[in-house]
Symmetry: C2
Subunit: 445 residues, 2 copies
């Protein structure tokens, strides 16, 4: 019989242990931080009725959707984000859930997009959202969660960029251009490509703005300075327009609250240039930038929306939340050499010399696990050199060496695999306390 070639689909990847261990570490960290704010886990199916998924998505996401007919003749699709499933979920279960509802969701999503530039068709997201709250407290908390999360991940050089959709909207109202926000946003979005003059021209052409209006819009979008300077400038630009003034006031409150709650001042940056989604977000919007990788793009983004689930329920469900791009962050941490060097999930390696002592090895390992020390027992009585070579490659921290002579003498050799130093420790079979103590000393180094 001819062999089937073992391969993954284009745009998909396997996670080997060296990639999977840091991924589990990031997920555990995110979950711990989310939970510490009272966000609760949920899960939803990978497959949904196609109409659920295509209801809200853009043409872009519709095109990327994995879709097919299932065994029962239903048209189904694989989720492409966690927001549409959340909307369906909250609409379906709102009676049971109650409001406010704070959830996190760590799950895989699929998009059949072009796979250039290291993008995959399968990736994991770690979202958190607060549903049913209009108070700014929830928006502030989103920023606090992101700040805590990156601190816990050991990333200090981080900028959380914050804007408010009402600032530009207020400006547009003030200029009488409120009906042209989409065209204005599209033009401002091209700033990095076409620069000041290009944007001013494009605003006049596509949004029918006057030259003066275009200059004012551009001035707002490229404001720079300290947060206080930006707040002061924004205040001037929107003065007299209630929408804009409200947006500036919320930005100011959020800035002060974040500082009060301990977010380092250097980490939070008011940035009138970020927009995030033409239609979806309606208030505070947030992006995060790793200062050491400025071109890497935002690794966590979010914002406030007025109505999560309008496609599925008449109940208004306002909310605010953010998504952590897990695989993008993993790539960034790898690039920065910031991943913890955990190679082996169990730190201790127990060599096996003498098959007639197999039960003694298994007993010793069980005694150490019972006091919280992970131990891998080499399964075969191969040559010591071969076993230590394996232990070295797998990244164990310590090895236990105990053969027939040691069992008889009542001792065990504890070997530091980084320094190659060894210590003899008493072990009588009944009690592994001395070995455990020596291992703890060594692991704490």
């Amino acid at each position: 019989m001819s062999l089937i070639q073992p391969r993954t689909l284009k745009g998909f990847r396997d996670y080997l242990p060296e990639a999977m261990m840091p991924r589990e570490w990031i997920i555990d960290t995110a979950r711990r931080v989310y939970r510490s704010y009272g966000f609760k886990p949920i899960d939803t199916p990978a497959l949904e009725y196609l109409e659920i998924l295509t209801g809200k998505g853009s043409d872009e996401t519709d095109k990327q959707l994995y879709r097919f007919e299932d065994h029962g003749g239903r048209m189904v699709g694989m989720r492409f984000d966690l927001t549409v499933p959340l909307a369906r979920f909250v609409a379906q279960h709102q009676q049971e859930l109650g409001l406010p509802f704070k959830r996190y969701h760590v799950a895989t999503v699929w998009r059949g997009e072009n796979t250039q530039a290291g993008r995959y068709r399968e990736f994991m997201q770690c979202d958190f959202d607060t549903i049913g709250v209009t108070e700014l407290t929830a928006d502030i908390e989103m920023v606090l969660v992101l700040s805590d999360l990156f601190t816990q991940l050991g990333i200090d050089k981080l900028t959380i960029r914050v804007n408010h959709r009402a600032v530009l909207n207020g400006m547009l109202e003030k200029l009488g251009l409120a009906d042209r926000s989409a065209a204005v946003l599209r033009a401002l979005d091209k700033f990095s490509k076409i620069k000041e003059q290009g944007v001013v021209e494009e605003l006049q052409r596509t949004a029918q703005a006057t030259a003066s209006q275009s200059e004012q819009l551009l001035a707002l979008a490229i404001l720079e300075g300290t947060n206080d300077q930006i707040l002061s400038k924004l205040g001037e630009l929107v003065r007299g327009n209630a929408t804009g003034e409200c947006g500036v006031a919320e930005l100011s409150d959020l800035n002060q609250a974040a500082l009060a709650a301990g977010v380092p001042a250097s980490r939070l940056k008011l940035d009138p240039s970020i927009a995030r989604g033409l239609d979806y977000y309606t208030g505070i919007v947030v992006e995060t930038q790793l200062e050491e990788l400025p071109d890497f793009g935002s690794v966590a983004s979010g914002g406030r929306y007025d109505n999560l689930a309008s496609l599925y329920t008449n109940q208004m469900l306002p909310g605010v939340g953010a998504a952590l791009g897990l695989d993008r962050l993993l790539g960034a941490l790898e690039k920065l050499g910031r991943l913890p060097n955990v190679q082996s999930p169990a730190p201790v390696f127990l060599c096996m010399f003498d098959p007639k002592h197999r039960n003694d090895y298994l007993k010793l390992a069980a005694q150490l696990r019972a006091v919280g020390l992970g131990v891998e027992v080499y399964p075969e009585p191969k040559k010591l050199g071969k076993q230590l070579q394996y232990a070295d490659k797998q990244g164990f921290r310590a090895a236990l060496i105990i053969g027939d002579a040691e069992f008889t003498a009542g001792q065990c050799q504890v070997k530091d695999l980084q320094t190659a130093n060894s210590t003899n420790v008493p072990y009588d079979g009944a009690d592994a306390a001395a070995i455990a103590a020596e291992l703890r000393r060594l692991l704490a180094e």
Copy 2:
């Protein structure tokens, strides 16, 4: 615009927080136990080339496979278990992985099967396997992992049923029926339905066994007694046949090793009636039964196989491992009332009275999180009764009550939400140590 009905597909389900929190607890527990033995995490794509998935599967799994043509015209399928992806994975990456290779994999699988009797089309598995080892140590370890896992899950009344495929094979060789093992297994499998006389008749009809042969096969399959009695009886039945004798010897070694490593004697039961898979398993096979739910079926099963990846590589890859049926186990623990009563991921609830103190609330919460105490801040200054009603429904353990007067007086009320008792604790804004101490005292109760 008319609303889209928010609903999940037939055979699929949402996990609300009260179901998801215990599910995360089981997954965390399984991962911790697997890791403590040196098993490492991997992940593979949900989608595979169809030929990878249909290569090994039975007609049954082929029929249940979710399959479709992707955007690039490739025929793809959604994984239906974690074993076929493991085989493909090891064949593809064997150079990088090295042997022995110990992995665990916690992931979702999909089967478009009939959904009667509480079975779902999407469920999670938690597999662990050791690849590249023929030594019995790996088989023993599988039993130790399962025993530890259930202990950690708080399940004491558990029977791990163990058999060895070589015992029946040896018996068949001895009787000259080695070429009829499939028919014999099918007949023995019907024991609970058609009883002794039915099995004896079926063995004669479908496996062309004589009456005497049929009686001997049946005698082997329904052996009862202590493990020592069973080993002794099996020894007699297969005496003179090397295959059978080897199987009995391994069962004996495994039994002794498990006892030496601390598995309670009552937990391990040699059971010649279990078979698990006509072709796949070749040595030790294992099932687990919850004594309080005997009809619930096995919640974790596994065994030894000779050659994991014969479809994808010529290298022989023997292995041994087991799969934990996560959702089935979750159902069982729920039925037994054995799920931990963790309703809120953060134990502390902070009431919000006075919007002008919002920053003070956020600061206090941050101070407590910094010392490891999860705190949910109610986001809106609603009436205290309404906030406490929410706290009660969400299952918080403690509430902090601090309004304008308390901020001025420099104190905070810590309320036990189970007893409704309150304690006043000093809090000057700079240091939340006294509140943290009181909360720790209360949470430890």
